[in-house]
Amino acid sequence: MIENTKCECGHNNPIGTILCEYCGKPLLEETKEKKTIEQEMRYEGKARRSQIKHKNFIDQVWSFFSSVKVAIILILITLIAAGIGSLLPQERVAATSNPELFYSQEYGIWGEWFYKLGLSDMYNSWWFMTLLAMIGVSLVICSLDRVIPLYRALKNQKVEKSTDFLLRQRISYQESVADEKKEEKFDALTTALKKRRYQIRQEGDSILAEKGRISRWGPYINHIGLIIFLLGVLLRFLIPGWYLDQAMYIQEGQTRKVPDTPYYVKNEKFIVEQYDGKFAGIPKKYQTKLILYQQDSSGNLKPVHRGSAIVNHPFEYKDLFLVQVDAQTNLKGIKLKLMDKKSQQSKGTFLVDLGNIKPNQVYTVGSNLEVRALEYYPDFALENGRPITKSQEVVKPAFIFEVKEKGQKEGERSWVISGENADALTPENKYVIKLAGFEMIPTSGLLVRIDKSLPIIFVGGFICLIGLAMGFYWHHRRVWIRYKDGVLYLGAHTNKSWFSLRRELNQVGKQSGIDLKLVQE
């Protein structure tokens, strides 16, 4: 192929130029033979970096990522992957401690493979992140590759283009017009075009009418928005402390440390409301009244903020969000009854507050009895004959108590295991401890969230939207008109919606006494 970059009009074009920057004439041999140059008009026929012939490594990477074909493939892969991931619940939603077992038990062989292929937590996986990052890189390179030449071309547009350029537009027209009629036609055309809010530039016997150029920048602005958005997402993983996603349960009245933060929080009151009347049983409101504390230098808790977490209205303090997500009623305490075995007489009751058992805690019962908690197993089990606790959750609480009469030096040991009769373990005992009831307490489930990328992400989204609106609600339309040697030439171009442009120009023509025959009415 001949690399001819100097146009017949005398203008020197950079290598890779398709249409002369000055007069718009096709430069490449293969373009010269084409009936229309619609394809070539997309970037005004400018040279782009990705199109250059001799390539080093960087050029190759550049070309790869600047290809829209590659972008489409990346988007398609992301789309399909995202769809597959939604078929079974993700690990976080399934909230299971043993995902491997969970998937194979619940979903059989499919679940097993879902887990094995890493699809059960795919949205956080390295390869999904890589896909998003590649789309991001592609967006940057692709946009840079095109927007700069496009910007230059549109800014330096010449009014007078070669008739060749005009006639090879997708919409074109020519008609012989007598010299003395020329002025009249030009006036009529400009008036009609101005009425349709075209901006008119006239130089000698040439007119360039243009409107909606902002539409051309739309895709780039929308891509910039997407880049900012993706950057925001990426930063959450890169900068420590930018992103926190934890959960906590907190009983009414309890004060707990907020996981992974310097704060403590107190649940003052947990309100659960239901609809009444015919809709009884349907929840109406969940609200936790909270006080947030921070430890001062001497270790005391100092309140810094109070407020409520309501579903859809999180509690906010600086970057921290506490989000109301769950409501439970939890076991707060166990009421126990101390009985004399022989007489079967109750000596009194005592309450064990499960959230607040100190070692060697002593409960006084009646007037002369003391019960001391020696051991506490929240999740009791026997392992090789020895008592252990399987976890710190209150699942099957068990205790060893020491029961002592006042003044007595050594009391007797007594087991209490929920759901079992432990009396048989200590047949010699004088006293027996029996279950007398439970005390329940409402417990609020909160999400603990910090997401410092949020402003970046939303700004990105907003910019993307502005770009989309610019690109889609405006259309870049240009009409070139030229009078040369007794012939009136007209060529028109739009970046989208050709039919609408045809219809518009047909109207313009009608008002100027030219039958353009662009649409049949």
């Binding site: 394809q39 829209v68 074909k69 972008a71 489409i72 988007i75 398609l76 992301t78 789309l79 995202a82 769809g83 991931g85 939604s86 078929l87 993700q90 939603v93 619940e106 979903y107 059989g108 949205y123 996603d245 609809y275 809709f279 349907i282 929840p283 109406k284 409101k285 969940y286 309501i310 579903v311 859809n312 209205h313 999180p314 969000f321 989000v323 997500v325 999400l447 969230r449 997401d451 949020l454 992400i457 939303f458 989204g461 907003f462 993307c464 939207l465 989309l468 609106a469 889609f472 609600y473 989208k496 919606s497 050709w498 039919f499 609408s500």
Partner: protein, 400 residues
């Protein structure tokens, strides 16, 4: 008040139906009549009916807000009815840009189908659970639905384009796929019809089963050919002498209404095929052939452009509603702007799909046939999200 609301909805339905008929009249052109004039006349009547229908639907919506105290987009009935509303609204906008009567002859029936489909779901008003008490939710749902409405018009225009191009072809892949697409639409319609017939006959069945540890009773409006896994019949009107479901759905189908949905799908497919068989038998024509005369004289470039234009108008709106507003709401409700909930994932898939459509069209020159197929495919994804994801893969968003 409730009676008024019912009546308003009924009026809306008939206005859309009449509008569809008027649009078809507009393109049916008799001999000896000036087609342009006929089109103009019937087009004006039809779009007028559609506009009055929209006004009635707005009145319906307002009445419902009065009764329930919240914007009606919080269950399948309300949301599907609203989707129908957005389709008509988008169509009216596009009609005033392009004035193509043929488009109305396809979009308005689609609106009628959507509204009828909405009525298959329970219409009773439910109070809002806390998770749904947010203004952002309404904003998000309504704007996303508006975007989908524009996509629906893009779909209809794509369909018209395809019929225009291959409707007279006896064979070929495109003709075959197009016929399948139309048969699927027919199945949808016949499911709705059979629901109405069954409802009018007062058919009822209740089957109870253990689902995820809870005893759930499913009410069937259509005779249960499929029942829940290990279900017990509470009551069942006999259907062709049959007193209990013929089949059980497999145990991995866990949705509360999984059996009911499988059953509905089954009825849709069977009655759809029967209806299709009858149509073929009596007209001796394929569906594409029946529709072809209605669309053959339209300029394909125009149809292609309308399809693209609808999607172009819908894309920013969909982005705003289904992604940006959704993120704002999710941030308030769950503290995370994105949770990879199935419904969210499918909104993202829809968006990515349409962005692929736009890129292919712009950079690879996918116009005409390919572009129209993508417009059809996009709407299939939307409907998949609306129907299958809502009712089968239950997530945080599921209504039913």
């Amino acid at each position: 008040m409730e009676q008024l609301m019912e009546n308003l909805l009924l009026c809306t339905f008939f206005l859309y139906l009449l509008s569809s008929v008027a649009f078809v009249m507009g393109i049916k052109g008799k001999k000896g009549e000036e087609p342009k004039q006929r089109e103009r006349k019937w087009g004006n009547i039809a779009v007028g009916l559609a506009i009055i229908g929209v006004v009635f639907q707005i009145a319906f919506t307002i009445t419902r807000i009065f009764i329930s105290g919240h914007f009606p987009t919080s269950n399948m009935f309300e949301f599907t009815a609203f989707l129908c509303f957005t389709v008509v609204l988008s169509f009216i906008v596009l009609f005033f840009i392009y004035r193509t009567v043929v488009l109305g002859a396809f979009v308005m029936p689609l609106a009628v189908i959507l509204l009828a489909y909405a009525s298959v779901f329970p219409k009773d008003i439910q109070p809002l659970i806390p998770a749904l008490q947010s203004h952002w939710l309404y904003i998000h749902v309504t704007v996303a639905a508006l975007g989908s409405g524009a996509f629906a018009v893009g779909f209809a225009a794509g369909l018209v384009y395809l019929i225009n191009q291959v409707g007279n072809k006896k064979s070929g892949k495109n003709a075959a796929y197009l016929e399948v697409t139309l048969v699927v639409v027919l199945m949808w319609v016949s499911f709705i019809l059979s629901s109405f017939v069954s409802g009018a006959l007062g058919y009822q069945a209740e089957i109870t089963a253990q689902i995820e540890g809870k005893q759930v009773t499913q009410k069937f409006d259509l005779p249960p050919i499929f029942g829940p896994h290990e279900g017990k019949v509470v009551k069942m009107d006999s259907f062709l002498g049959q007193k209990e479901p013929l089949f059980e759905v497999p145990s991995w189908m866990k949705g509360q209404n999984a059996a009911k949905n499988v059953n509905s799908t089954f009825w849709g497919i069977i009655t759809g095929l029967i209806l299709y068989g009858l149509i073929r038998l009596f007209t001796k024509k394929r569906l594409t052939e029946i529709l072809y005369p209605l669309v053959k004289k339209w300029n394909p470039e125009l149809l292609d452009e309308i399809s693209y234009r609808s999607i172009a108008i819908g894309f920013p709106i969909f982005t705003l509603g289904a992604l940006i507003f959704a993120m704002i709401w999710a941030h308030e409700a769950w503290g995370r702007f994105w949770g990879w909930d199935p419904k969210e994932v499918w909104a993202l898939i829809t968006w990515l799909f349409y962005s692929v459509y736009l890129h292919l069209r712009l950079s690879r020159g996918w116009h005409g046939m390919k572009s129209s197929w993508l417009a059809v495919g996009g709407y299939v994804i939307i409907m998949f999200n609306q129907i299958v994801i809502n009712m089968v893969i239950s997530g945080l968003h599921s209504y039913a």
